[in-house]
Structures are given as C-alpha cells and as structure tokens.
Assembly symmetry: C2
Amino acid sequence: MKQIDSRDNPGYKALKALAADAREQRRQGRALLDGVHLLQAYRDKCGPPLRLIVSEHGMTQPEVRALRESLVDVECWLLRDKLFAALSELASPSGILALIEIPQAADDGSAPQTSCVLLDGIQDVGNVGSILRTAAAAGIRDVFLGSGCAGAWTPRVLRAAQGAHFDLRIRESADLAAVMQRFTGIRIAASAHGAQPLFELDLRAPLAWLFGSEGQGISPALERLADQRAIIPLAAGSESLNVAAAAAICLFEEVRQKRG
Amino acid sequence: MKQIDSRDNPGYKALKALAADAREQRRQGRALLDGVHLLQAYRDKCGPPLRLIVSEHGMTQPEVRALRESLVDVECWLLRDKLFAALSELASPSGILALIEIPQAADDGSAPQTSCVLLDGIQDVGNVGSILRTAAAAGIRDVFLGSGCAGAWTPRVLRAAQGAHFDLRIRESADLAAVMQRFTGIRIAASAHGAQPLFELDLRAPLAWLFGSEGQGISPALERLADQRAIIPLAAGSESLNVAAAAAICLFEEVRQKRG
C-alpha cells in the first residue's frame, strides 16, 4: 500500500482535480466513486477499479477492510484523514474511494432499439441522479445527456443515483437532436403544456422520453422532433412537478402499460 | 421602512435564529420565505406576511420592488446586503424574504376523509420538499410528518416544494400511529418488500399513503397498521427507488385510477 502524506504529491493533486470538476473528469475519462455501497455495486457489475484510496480512519472500519480485501490485486493508496476528507464531499467521509475509468458506451451512429431517456439542460445534480436511478429501476438501458446537463459522474450525481450508473449506458454531451432523428420508436416530450394527458397515451412501443429543465423546459427545436407531447394532469392550482418526480411518473406508467 | 445596519440588532438576531433552526421555527411558530416566487405564492394563497425583509441590492430589482409595492401595508425592513446574505441559504441571495406565521392545521382528533400522506423518518430535505410538491400536484390536502422528519418549514424544504406548502394542511411532529388508526379509508404502506404490486391494487377509495426513509424503511409498528403493503415492480438488479420518486409513482397511479 502506497502512503500519501502530502497535498503536494502530484498523484494526489490529480485526484483532487478529478473530485472537484466535471470537465476534468471528461478530460481524464476517469471519475471517483465514494463509499462502500457505490464501490460494491461497481465491483459486482463492472469489475475491479483502477485504484483504491483509503483513509487511515477508513482502515479501522470492518466494511472498508472487507472491500479492500475483496480487491487485493488493485493498487491501494493510504491517505491521511485530512487529505482524504478534501477528496470527499460527504460531511462524514466514508473512508474509501475508488478511481475508475468512466465506462464509455460505444457510439456507432445507431439509435437504441429499446426505450431510452434524453435529458435537455437539467443542471440540478439531485434531479439528474434521481432520474438515472429511476431509469435503471424502470429497465431503461440508454440515457443521453445534452451538453447543458450536470456531469453524470460527479460525486453528488453518483450518490443520488446509488449505483444506477453501472446498469446504464450513459452518453454525455450527446447530440440529442441526432438521437431523436434516428430513433425509430415513439418520441415523447414531457411538456408542461403538452397536448395529451400521459395516461391516455399508448406506451407499449419502444419510447424515447425527452425531459427538460424546470426553468427552461425543453428547447423548442428538440420538442418539434417529438411525435407526442405528454402532460401529467395536475390538480387545480398546481403549476408543475419536480422533473425527477415527473420522470418517475412517466417511466413507471410505461412499465405499467408494458406489464399489462 | 426600518433600516437594519447591525448584526447585533435583536430583531435581526431573532430572524437569524429562525433561518438556521427548525426547532426555533416550531418554538416561534414562524418561518422565513425566501425569494419572489415563494412570496407571491404565499401572498396569493394565504394573504399578507407579517413582515418583509429586503436587501439594498433587492431594492434595485424590479420584481422585488413590485412585490413590495403589492404589500405596501406590510412592515418592511431594509437590510445591508451582507446582513441579508446571512439569512439566506441561496448562493445568490434573492433580495427579499418574508416572515410568516406557520399556518397551523386544526387538529380536532378527526382523520382526513380524503387521501392523505404520512411520512415516517424522512430526513432528506430535498425528498420532503419534493413529496410535498408532488402531493399538492396530485390533489392531496393533508400531509403528516412524524417527529423524525426534516422540518417542513426550513428554507431548503420550502424551496424544493415551490409553494406547495400553501395548498396543503401540514402537521409536523404528528402521531402517525393515531392518524393511521383513525383513518377510515384504505391504508397503504409503500414497502421495499411489499406483498402486492402497486399496479394491481384498487386505488379508487380514499387512501392514507405511508412512506418511510430509504435507509430505515417504515417502522414495523406503523407498517402493521396498514391494510396493504404495496411494492413498485423494479427491473432485475435494481434494489430501490428514491423515496420521492416512489411517492410520485404511487400518488399519480392513484390519480390515474381515479380519473379512469
């Protein structure tokens, strides 16, 4: 185990840049996973990470030690608690991080044959994470994030998605218009002033769901590429739903109809 | 307009205590609303607040001035920008706050006759806020928060709920078991290991929905008081949903069935 005692260590500096910055993650093609639960999910679904990073306090935790022992062939760095805390966004640091290669979904120019989700300009990290988690739970495989979205592999999105990343093919900085144009199923824009109540749509075909930000909505050029604009019927006096709640309602209405 | 220049002003100190602490809100029976949107919703649905608090920068904003002018009979304090920023959780302060009396729903020992929501131990402020917003949008009026929940009138819950508070009757520190026992409709616990798939339940009667925290679930004593335990069917490999996403799916499945 390599011990890191100084914040001037170049390897440590590279980790710190990665922890803070979605652009740096895209540049390096790498991300940090924080905490035992996320690492277990990654290990079980994707295999060993590039490197483990453990704090001195973490090494006293049975869960952390057990995880480390299950990945004994992986390079492991031991960090002073203070250095570790500066890499973690958690108020009480988990004690273990993993450096991983961001899984890259191949882009051969084809469109998914099954239902997929497209996110346009959703910047709230909690919402992006929640939508990824809901999509995986609804059996969706492909999620496309347009360039205005929060970084999918940032610590707070990873935490909110609770390991859903490893069940999904996630494309960031995606050309959403191109995906819409190539998709051969039904393209549905979830719109605040849509034409058709969600519950009256037939959702049994493969669907491309398009969700926009709460402030801006879906950009008009993209919305025009949709076959349907769906609206969730709201009680009188209510203006809108949180976008992650709206996505949950839409994706599980599809689940319901496809079961039936 | 009263001008506050010092952080030692006793009135200012009382506001600062209120901004930071849910217990202090319950003690005073008052809360702070932050930002034009939330204040407009309050004014339109509940009437004038007790007091407006505006920053010097806020007074240069047309939206803030217009809101102030629509409430010209309400006492207004003008704060230095620095003092104002210390009352607001927003990274870019909105420039206007309102002090309000927390609306108290009368508790005459009766239970709601229409559908309601009970939250057991949900501490995440974003989830509590999102559930309140979804409940209002689904036409629910009554929400009961058990003592382990995040404070409903804290700034981040208010922000996440986007004004839904003013469409709801919210009871905090509620005796959830007593509400469950008195409720005469069907009591449904949303459970991660429930017996019945949500989509197979008949949801056309008045319902009491019981949601628990993601970590702990619903406390067993409460869960035993439910008539049904509903599970949302998840794709293979997915363990669970975010509780706010789960609540959205449940409450809008009820909306769907009641429309049909």
